[in-house]
């Protein structure tokens, strides 16, 4: 029983190939682990495939909403928590020691946040979405986005005080 036929499958494959890098990077920030990230993106793309006709014209938006909703509710309901296996952090990525250390510390600190706090930070400071869009995407109020952002940043400051300037956010997401 094919999920998609002919032209629809070709379009979906094209879409998946183009969007996988961006979805993987967001999923990695949300889960803190490359295997979980791949699992999350696979599941997201499966959702898109199953709703390909309904999502026609807006597959990116549909995929993004599915990704973030799953990241918040999926882990909770399946009792799965992202882990931070430092031993397998790739060390071949470019950057000096300071950069690498900062990435490690930030990644470890992100893993200590709740899924919703992580989602709010990623949407606002990685995807550059304003509060209203973040709220709409996560299906919560702007007040919740504000409070989650505040508490997330406060917790990150407490977890990694040496990165104070990173979390003293002065930039304004669009």
């Amino acid at each position: 029983m094919a999920v998609l036929d002919g032209e629809a499958e070709r379009e979906f494959r094209e879409f998946a190939r183009a969007e996988t890098p961006a979805l993987m990077r967001a999923a990695y920030l949300l889960t803190g682990d490359s295997h979980h990230a791949q699992d999350l993106v696979q599941s997201t793309l499966a959702n898109v495939a199953l709703h390909w006709r309904a999502a026609t014209g807006h597959p990116q938006a549909y995929a993004r909403k599915s990704l973030y909703h799953q990241a918040v509710s999926w882990w909770r309901w399946r009792g799965r928590r992202p882990e931070t296996p430092f031993a397998v952090v790739p060390d071949a990525t470019p950057g000096d020691d300071d950069d690498r250390e900062r990435r490690l510390v930030v990644r470890a600190a992100l893993a200590r946040l709740t899924p919703k706090q992580r989602a709010v930070l990623v949407l606002r400071y990685f995807e550059d979405l304003p509060e209203s869009e973040t709220a709409r995407l996560l299906g919560c109020s702007i007040g919740t986005v504000k409070s989650q952002t505040r508490h997330a940043l406060s917790r990150l400051r407490a977890l990694a005080p040496e990165l104070g300037e990173v979390f003293d956010v002065t930039e304004v997401p669009r």
């Binding site: 997201t44 793309l45 209203s132 504000k146 002065t170």
Partner: protein
């Protein structure tokens, strides 16, 4: 080490290896879900039968687990036969009944704890594959629990089957209301009880919106009445322009809704009976008319509404928490009695420079309480609506700011201060 949060997140994200093509794996997974969908009706019938049997047996046999007496909201309470409650994820207090609804991280089994009877009762909702509940809300009188229920993983483009369910705790009777079209990611977004435990405000995402609303689906907000027969009756759709709908009036007849440009009062028929325009912000051109409203609450006599918000300041964004304090104000709006129109000019009270401000309650009809966060310290002010004078009534030490608004609300309900 230096760098902004944004650039650091982008740097971290580049640490992941990106697979060349996940389309095959995704299509295989989609195929498995579709096949599962074929047998789902049979599984559904069996699961519903089991669910009905379990819920009925739990509530009708009186075999409620007993926990030792203690604070109702203490997440570290002693173990009971429903399992240790140390892994409680959320709790929602019902102040009148002195009961709390908690649900646990693993398996999501909700537990209702009553302070009066010291009894813990497990509300069993299947969380196995294919079925799930969410947005649990305990009624203010502690007698009922409402939740959204959904057959998960909708497949084949079909809409998810979503229901609103209300369980009467004393009898285990469950009333349900089909919500066709609602449900994307979660059964419903939120459920809010009116103070008299007679009505519900339900928010959910309409998935059909994917086709014609920018791809996100649209949030729908509607009222549900609990009929005397126990049936759930879907009421009016509440029009609103923003994502926040708050503030049941004490009589359950009106709702406050804050949009991007105005505050609206809606009656039970979903009609906007009053709308108060909010002034545009200096960021209007760049960010629209968003403002940083931090909660809005009716006064007990339902004649006033208090809203905390960031004050417009040239060149300063209102729409983001950037770690910098900004001028905050408390806006007081006097509303005409129900059924008539018109408002007097709003009164603004300066709250000084702060990171955030939220209305947390009313001490009486003339004194709203507003929590103000400055640095790591949160203080709750009582503000005199006639003079604008404010005084600190509660000061929370650093480290407890997370719970401060809730704590303040509890203190108010207990009549702790005026």
């Amino acid at each position: 080490m230096s760098g902004s949060l944004r650039s650091t997140l982008h740097a971290v994200s580049r640490d992941v290896a990106v697979p060349v093509d996940l389309a095959d794996a995704a299509l295989r997974r989609a195929g498995r879900r579709r096949r599962a969908h074929v047998v789902a009706p049979v599984v559904a019938m069996v699961a519903v039968a089991v669910l009905v049997f379990v819920v009925t047996s739990v509530f009708s046999s009186g075999r409620h687990a007993v926990v030792p007496a203690g604070p109702v909201s203490g997440p570290g309470s002693a173990p009971s036969s429903v399992g240790a409650v140390s892994d409680v994820r959320s709790e929602f207090a019902a102040p009148i009944a002195r009961a709390a609804l908690m649900y646990r991280d693993r398996g999501g089994t909700p537990i209702v704890v009553s302070a009066d009877g010291d009894a813990a009762r497990a509300l069993r909702v299947s969380s196995s594959a294919g079925y799930r509940g969410d947005a649990y809300a305990l009624s203010p009188d502690g007698a009922k629990v409402a939740y959204g229920w959904q057959k998960a993983s909708p497949v084949g483009g079909a809409q998810p089957k979503t229901q609103l369910r209300v369980v009467t705790l004393a009898t285990g009777e469950t009333a349900s209301l089909a919500l066709p079209g609602i449900g994307l990611g979660e059964p419903v977004e939120s459920i809010t009880w009116s103070a008299d435990s007679a009505r519900l405000l339900v928010q959910g995402v309409v998935t059909e919106g994917v086709e014609h609303n920018g791809g996100y689906g649209t949030t729908e907000c509607f009222l549900v009445d609990l009929a005397p027969s126990g049936a759930l009756v879907r009421g009016a759709t509440v029009p609103f322009t923003g994502p926040d709908v708050d503030g049941w009036s004490a009589d359950g007849e009106r709702l406050l809704s804050v949009g991007e440009r105005d505050v609206a009062v809606t009656n039970r028929s979903g009609e906007v009976v009053e709308s108060v325009k909010l002034p545009p912000t200096p960021d209007a051109g760049r960010y629209g008319h968003l403002f940083g409203a931090g909660g809005l609450l009716w006064s007990p006599d339902q004649k006033r509404v208090a809203i905390a918000m960031a004050r417009a300041a040239p060149g300063r964004p209102l729409t983001t928490i950037d770690g910098q304090p900004r001028p905050q104000l408390l806006r007081l709006i006097s509303l005409a009695p129900s059924g008539s129109a018109g408002t007097s000019a709003p009164i603004d009270v300066d709250l000084g420079q702060a990171l955030d401000a939220q209305v947390v309650g009313w001490a009486d009809n003339d004194h709203p309480l507003v929590g103000v966060l400055s640095g790591d310290v949160e203080q709750v002010y009582s503000v005199d609506v006639r003079t604008g004078d404010k005084r600190v009534v509660v000061r929370f030490d650093p480290g407890v700011t997370w719970a401060a608004p809730q704590l303040a609300g509890e203190i108010v309900r207990a009549g702790g201060f005026r």
